[in-house]
C-alpha cells in the first residue's frame, strides 16, 4: 500500500433515519491515508453512498466523528465550507451547472470561493481540460456534451479546487456502457498521479486494478476490508462470497 499520513478517520460513524428505525450507517470505523485509493463496494442499500456523502457532510451523520486532516468536521463549531474546498466530489448524475459554459463550471468555485484571479483559474482549467481531451469544448454548455464527457468535466471541475481527496459517488452508474471506459481512464490516471481517492462503484474490474484497499459494506457496516487481491481471490465472509458470486 502507498500510504502516507492519515487524511480521513471515522469513529463510530452512524446515520439513522426515523429515530433509529433505519440504520443506513451503523458504526463505521476506518481511515483513509493520503495517496491511497479506497474502493467501497456492496449491494445497493448497504450504505456505501451514505458513507461517502457523510465524509463531506452532504449527509449529516447522526452519531460518531469524522476527522479530516486532524479536524473533527462533525463538530458543529467547524466551518465545513472550508474543509469541503479540500474534498472534491464527483456525483452519479454529474451535476454540472447547466447555465454556465464548461469553463464557467470549472472556474466559478476557484474564483468565487478561493478568490483566485480569473486568468489564473482559466489557465488551470484549460490545462486540466487538455489532460482529459476536452479542451475544444471549453465554451460549450453541459447540455451539448455526452454523458461520458460530462462526467470527465465533473472530475476536472472538482480538481480545479486542488483538493486533497476526491470522493466518487458511483461515477459510472448513469453512463451508457460505451462511455464507462473513458471516465475510468481519467480516474486511473488520477490514481497514478497519487491523488487520494474514495470511490463507491460497481466496477469490480476498476476496484481490482486501481484500488489499494477495498471496503465491502452491507447493512450499514463494514463487513470486510482488505487488499483487492484478498477481497476478490480469498473472500472470508459468507456475505462477501455471495455478493461476489452475483456481480462477477
Amino acid at each position: 500500500m502507498r500510504t502516507g499520513e492519515v487524511l480521513i478517520r471515522t469513529e463510530g460513524l452512524e446515520k439513522h433515519f426515523n429515530g433509529g428505525e433505519i440504520r443506513a450507517l451503523d458504526g463505521i470505523d476506518t481511515k483513509i491515508c493520503s495517496g491511497e485509493v479506497v474502493v467501497v463496494v456492496g449491494p445497493s442499500g448497504s450504505g456505501k453512498s451514505t458513507f461517502l456523502r457523510c465524509l463531506n457532510l452532504l449527509e449529516v451523520p447522526t452519531g460518531g466523528h469524522i476527522f479530516f486532516e486532524g479536524t473533527d468536521i462533525t463538530d458543529p463549531q467547524t466551518d465545513i465550507n472550508v474543509h469541503r474546498q479540500k474534498m472534491g466530489m464527483v456525483f452519479q448524475h454529474f451535476n454540472l451547472f447547466p447555465h454556465m459554459t464548461i469553463l464557467g463550471n470549472m472556474t466559478i468555485a476557484p474564483i468565487k470561493v478561493l478568490k483566485r484571479p480569473k486568468e489564473e483559474a482559466e489557465k488551470q482549467a484549460r490545462e486540466l481540460l487538455e489532460r482529459v481531451g476536452l479542451l475544444e469544448r471549453a465554451d460549450a454548455y453541459p447540455s451539448q456534451l455526452s454523458g461520458g464527457q460530462k462526467q470527465r468535466i465533473a472530475i476536472v471541475r472538482a480538481l480545479c479546487m486542488n483538493p486533497d481527496v476526491m470522493l466518487f459517488d458511483e461515477p459510472t452508474s448513469a453512463l451508457d456502457p460505451e462511455m464507462v471506459g473513458e471516465v475510468l481512464d481519467v480516474m486511473k490516471q488520477l490514481a497514478r498521479d497519487g491523488m487520494t481517492m474514495v470511490v463507491v462503484t460497481h466496477e469490480m474490474g476498476f476496484a481490482h486494478e486501481v484500488g489499494d484497499r477495498v471496503i465491502f459494506m452491507d447493512e450499514g457496516k463494514i463487513v470486510e476490508e482488505n487488499t483487492p487481491d484478498e477481497i476478490f481471490e480469498h473472500p472470508k465472509s459468507e456475505r462477501l462470497k455471495g455478493f461476489l458470486a452475483k456481480v462477477l
Binding site: 463531506n56 452532504l58 449529516v60 458543529p76 465550507n81 472550508v82 469541503r84 474546498q85 474534498m87 472534491g88 466530489m89 456525483f91 448524475h93 451535476n95 454540472l96 451547472f97 447547466p98 447555465h99 466559478i108 468555485a109 468565487k112 470561493v113 478561493l114 454548455y141 447540455s143 451539448q144 456534451l145 455526452s146 454523458g147 471541475r157 472538482a158 479546487m161 448513469a174
Partner: protein, 274 residues
C-alpha cells in the same frame, strides 16, 4: 344597428374630441402603466425575499441545528406564510379599500396604489419564484456545496440564476395579470384607464363607446405583452433544445394565458420530447 353606425362619428366626437376628453384616456393609460410597472418592481423584490425564506425553511429547516438561526428562520417563515395566506385569501379590491381609507388616509393616491398592488403581487411572485427554486435538482445544491460554496453563495451563483430562467415566462404572465387588476383603482378615485372612461361617461351620458374603447385598449396591451411572453418562452426553449441523452429533468411548464391561477406547474420533462 344602423342608427348606431349613423351616429357613431358624432358620439365618438363627443366622447373623445370635444373638450379634449381624450386627455382623460391618456392620463388613465399612463397611470395604469405606471402603477403596474412600479408594483411589479416592489412585487418582485418582495417576492424574492419571501421565496428565499420559504424555500430555505422548506429545504433545510428540519435538519438545522437548534439555535437562534433556526428560530429566526422559523419565525420569518411563519410571518411569510401569514402574509401569503392573507394576501391571496382576500380580494385585491378589499385590500385596496383598506389601504386607501384606513391605512393611507390623505396620502398620495399613487403611493397607496403602488404599495397595495406591489404587496399583493409580491405574494404571487413569491410562490412563482419558490416553485422555480424548488424545481432545481437538489444535485445542483450538492454540487455547489461540495465545491466549498456556502448556502447563500450557492443560492446566488447556482440556484437562483437557473430558477429565474425557468420562471421568467410565469413572471411575465404575472405582469399581465397585474396590468388588468389595476382596473379596480377607480374604486378609490384614482384615475386609471378604467376610471377615465367612467369620467367621460358621466360627462356625456353615453356609455357604449368609452367602455368599448378601454376594453379594446386593455385587450391590445394584453395581446402585445402575451406575444412578448411567447417569444421569450420560445427563446428559452431553444437554448435547452440541443440537450443530448435521455436523462430526466425536473422542469417547469409555463402557461402564457393571461389568467390568474396556477401559472407554473412542476413536471417531469423528458429531454428528448422537448
Amino acid at each position: 344597428m344602423i342608427e348606431f353606425f349613423r351616429r357613431f362619428p358624432e358620439r365618438f366626437y363627443t366622447a373623445f374630441i370635444q373638450d379634449d376628453r381624450w386627455r382623460y384616456m391618456v392620463e388613465g393609460l399612463g397611470n395604469t402603466l405606471l402603477v403596474t410597472f412600479l408594483s411589479l418592481l416592489i412585487g418582485v423584490a418582495l417576492g424574492i425575499v419571501v421565496a428565499l425564506i420559504r424555500a430555505s425553511w422548506d429545504k433545510n429547516g428540519e435538519q438545522m441545528r437548534p439555535g437562534p438561526g433556526r428560530f429566526f428562520l422559523r419565525l420569518a417563515n411563519g410571518i411569510c406564510k401569514v402574509y401569503l395566506t392573507v394576501i391571496r385569501g382576500t380580494p385585491v379590491v378589499v385590500q385596496l379599500i383598506i389601504v386607501f381609507f384606513v391605512i393611507f388616509v390623505n396620502q398620495s393616491k399613487l403611493t397607496a396604489g403602488v404599495l397595495t398592488f406591489g404587496i399583493n403581487s409580491g405574494a404571487y411572485v413569491a410562490e412563482i419564484i419558490r416553485a422555480g427554486i424548488m424545481s432545481i435538482d437538489p444535485g445542483q445544491n450538492e454540487a455547489g456545496r461540495s465545491l466549498g460554496f456556502g448556502y447563500v453563495s450557492t443560492m446566488r451563483f447556482i440556484i437562483l440564476p437557473q430558477a429565474f430562467k425557468n420562471v421568467l415566462p410565469a413572471l411575465a404572465n404575472e405582469f399581465i395579470v397585474l396590468l388588468k387588476e389595476t382596473s379596480v383603482l377607480g374604486f378609490v378615485g384614482y384615475t386609471d384607464l378604467n376610471r377615465a372612461s367612467q369620467i367621460i361617461v358621466s360627462r356625456t351620458y353615453y356609455a357604449l363607446i368609452p367602455y368599448f374603447a378601454i376594453a379594446i385598449i386593455y385587450l391590445l396591451m394584453v395581446i402585445f405583452f402575451t406575444y412578448l411572453v411567447g417569444k421569450l418562452e420560445k427563446r428559452l426553449r431553444v437554448s435547452d433544445a440541443h440537450a443530448q441523452g435521455g436523462e430526466k429533468k425536473i422542469g417547469l411548464r409555463l402557461t402564457a394565458e393571461p389568467m390568474r391561477g396556477p401559472t407554473a406547474v412542476i413536471v417531469e420533462v423528458d429531454d428528448e420530447n422537448r
